[in-house]
């Protein structure tokens, strides 16, 4: 257990990312409000982004923009950052679409609660 905690402390960004991921998933699964589900999804995705970006980072490294004044700089790995740019766009798209669906559902059912909607639909 101690070793586990020690290692987790070393990998603290991953640790935090996974905790955020679990909280996000928990929000999605247990909250019946559509907004809360959406926020949970966003938390989950940003947790994954955090994990990627932490994986690319080097402690004390340099920003990955070529600096000709400082040829000795240790640049961080730019690949995960580039990937996450795409990831962020994807999460924006999903959020936008989900918001549109929420509006549509509110127009039809007058509520933003998934459970109420299911009840109203069965009726």
């Amino acid at each position: 257990m101690r070793i586990l905690l020690d290692k987790l402390l070393v990998n603290y960004p991953y640790f935090a990312a996974m905790i955020l991921f679990i909280i996000g998933a928990f929000t999605v699964m247990t909250r019946s409000n559509l907004f809360k589900k959406l926020i949970g999804i966003n938390i989950m995705e940003s947790a994954i982004f955090l994990m990627f970006i932490a994986a690319g980072n080097i402690r004390g490294g340099a920003v990955p923009i070529l600096d000709e004044a400082n040829p000795q700089a240790v640049y961080i790995n730019p690949l995960p950052s580039a990937l996450m740019l795409t990831g962020i766009v994807v999460s924006v798209s999903v959020t936008a679409f989900a918001l549109a669906l929420i509006i549509r559902l509110y127009q039809s059912y007058g509520t933003t609660d998934a459970r109420r909607i299911a009840e109203l639909r069965k009726r």
Binding site: P13, F26, K36, S46, I88, V92, T112
Partner: protein, 83 residues
Amino acid sequence: MGFTAVDYGTMVMLLILIAASLAMYFIKDLLHAVIVYGAYSLIMALVWLQMNTPDIAITEAAAGIAMTVLMMVVISRTSRKED
């Protein structure tokens, strides 16, 4: 394990992130939850700035604001309370 000041700063911000995410779980007022979400994404952007990726930080800040704005628009058009 020699943590530097940057590490400690990042840790504190990560703790704030976790607190914010828990807050979003518990807050009943959706508008407040969305405002907390805006703060969350801003802090996330700061964390990434700490991690030497200003590109992503800028993008996340912009995208976070955009999403917050959109969510607020939608909340203004639907109900604000969670029931």
